[in-house]
Symmetry: C2
Subunit: 151 residues, 2 copies
């Protein structure tokens, strides 16, 4: 239902959000989130173009969130790499009817709108908020003690 690219982008920003005021090298992020290094590089470039992250080049550079995790929503991240497309007209493209949708596409678009909203109102900060026992990422070599669930 969600593309690999979206998954990758979300894992990456979640990793960045843990320490968001410093740049993190692609390689570090890739290691931590277990994804192909060079593909992540492309994903980060997309996130950069969309203004979700900043690129700091040169030594000790890397990527960094442009805003506090409480300001960034999951929808921003998703739309940066693989925009959620609402259905705003009949996919059959028949002429002669207005902006109304037939029942099928009305249903489909309702579902899309709901998931869009679910992500529009979820910030990265909420994801990381660990008042509960869960954590969004955990290092591989440090097995979790209780419910230290990995991303």
């Amino acid at each position: 239902m969600f593309s690999h690219t979206v998954e990758y982008a979300l894992r990456a920003v979640a990793a960045l959000a843990e320490d968001w005021e410093r740049p993190h090298a692609v390689q570090k992020i890739a290691d931590r989130t277990k994804m192909p290094n060079d593909y992540l590089a492309k994903v980060m470039q997309a996130l950069c173009r969309a203004g979700v992250v900043n690129a700091i080049r040169g030594r000790h550079g890397g990527y960094q969130l442009t805003q506090a995790p409480s300001k960034l929503t999951l929808l921003m991240v998703i739309n940066a790499v693989d925009p959620i497309k609402r259905i705003d007209r009949c996919p059959l493209g028949l002429p002669g009817h207005g902006p109304n949708l037939c029942p099928l596409h009305r249903r489909l678009d309702d579902a899309i709108r709901e998931t869009e909203n679910a992500f529009r109102y979820t910030t990265l900060a909420e994801l990381l908020d660990s008042t509960g026992p869960v954590r969004p990422l955990c290092p591989v070599d440090q097995p979790p003690a209780f419910i230290n669930v990995a991303l």
Copy 2:
């Protein structure tokens, strides 16, 4: 968000549902729903294997719903061609934690569950039910009079 194949499958069964006790040839369905004939043939085979439709071979054959539109849900159709996959374990595959998900994947799976439910509880009959002014399909050459919206 939804694949072309899903769109096609839904259009096709919506077309079949309008007159579900007779078989309809692939070519007829393809014309009416504006999709590639030969690709639809593959989609119909998948729907057939999944038990959503029956194939009647030979002259005057075609495809036909196996059950009344009120018995068939959108989810059945979707799952027949492109199953909705729930997230039931950490995609990173890290060992050492149970069946719990981290916050990110919990959110993602919540969204998936909601759309799954939206389709589980919508039948084809509901889609066709035209107490309202909308109709799920309309012929191209007959321009709609009021709000006769096309699929």
